[in-house]
Amino acid sequence: MYRTVLAATCIILTGGAALAADAPAADARAAIVVTHAWVRASLGQSPTTAAYLRIENRGATEDRLLAVATPAAATAHLHESVAKDGIMRMQAVNSLGIKPGQSIELAPGGLHIMMMGLKSPLKVGQTIPVKVRFEGAGEIEVDAEVRGLDDAR
């Protein structure tokens, strides 16, 4: 965990320019494709919701998702609903590996981006930017469409 945070920090500090100048990093960047991003509209007075997306690794090497962020919420974390001793818990996922050729879908009831402290209610039809940071591919920003419950299964 500490090492991944350290690695992530190094990537941030060295900056996007350094990444872009590096040929293998450019390959890594092209290899990761993030699509199908959406977020559940706010429900009642809840200042919490979840965002979902699909990550494909079209490259030849494994990459790792290290962090997520969105300006729409005070905090965003990758979480997973897991069962432990028969109880469902939300568990933080600090790093998620994506193998070459693998496609990982964040979906209701499993992996999700937990958004806490929404700055304003999210309404159907809006889009919000979601930034996903990878070890190799760097930061990828996608627009997540706000969906109502009828489209949130």
Partner: protein, 204 residues
């Protein structure tokens, strides 16, 4: 079905099995020994309109209880979505079933907060809250679990909680715990059959 969905399905099956095990043991420990569907232990709560509710309030109809909290980002809205789907699929027979969302975060989830939240899914869903002691009692009555968990680095908390649905028949007897998921067609038929076969008394 995606890998995530498969994993989730597997997790739900394990959860159900564990919960079923807990209840089977509970049933065996009942003093009468012969009952596999013990009467639900007494509880006292308040619904989304501020009305008092007890274990006797829904007698004559089946009751499906879920324990969650409205700041739950993923599992609770997904489960309530399936609950609303279930009511729609049951059609007219849905009048024989009450689905209730019981909060495990009574500090934040007042009747008004629950009402606003549940209106997004189906107005027929009940939202139940109470004092911390009342919430503790109702979760114990069903063998459900919850715990407040502080969020690292934030002045905030989330809740761990059981995510099963608990089914009580029209006579107030606990039937079983299970997970609702998007493969709910089988469950709809099962509930329909159970409601018509097991409770002739509720037919008008």
């Amino acid at each position: 079905m995606s890998r995530t969905a498969k994993t989730f399905a597997a997790v739900l099956i394990v959860t159900m099995a564990v919960i079923a095990g807990v209840f089977l043991r509970h049933a065996v420990e009942e003093p009468r020994g012969v009952s596999v569907s013990p009467a639900v232990k007494p509880f006292s709560l308040t619904d989304q309109s501020g009305r008092p509710v007890t274990e006797a309030s829904y007698r004559g109809r089946w009751l499906l209880l879920f324990f969650g909290f409205i700041r739950c980002p993923d599992v609770c809205p997904t489960s309530m979505l399936y609950a609303a789907d279930l009511l729609k699929a049951l059609g007219a027979e849905a009048r024989n079933l009450q689905i209730a969302f019981v909060t495990v975060d009574p500090e934040r989830d007042t009747p008004a907060v629950l009402r606003d939240y549940l209106a997004n899914f189906d107005p027929r869903l009940a939202g139940l809250t109470g004092s911390p002691e009342q919430i503790s009692a109702v979760t114990k009555a069903f063998g459900a679990y919850y715990a407040k968990r502080a969020l690292e680095g934030l002045d905030d908390y989330t809740m761990d909680h059981s995510t099963a649905f608990y089914l009580v028949n029209a006579d107030g007897k606990f039937q079983r715990a299970f997970a609702l998921n998007d493969d709910s067609d089988g469950l709809t038929d099962e509930l329909r059959a159970a409601m018509s076969a097991a409770s002739p008394a509720q037919k008008e």
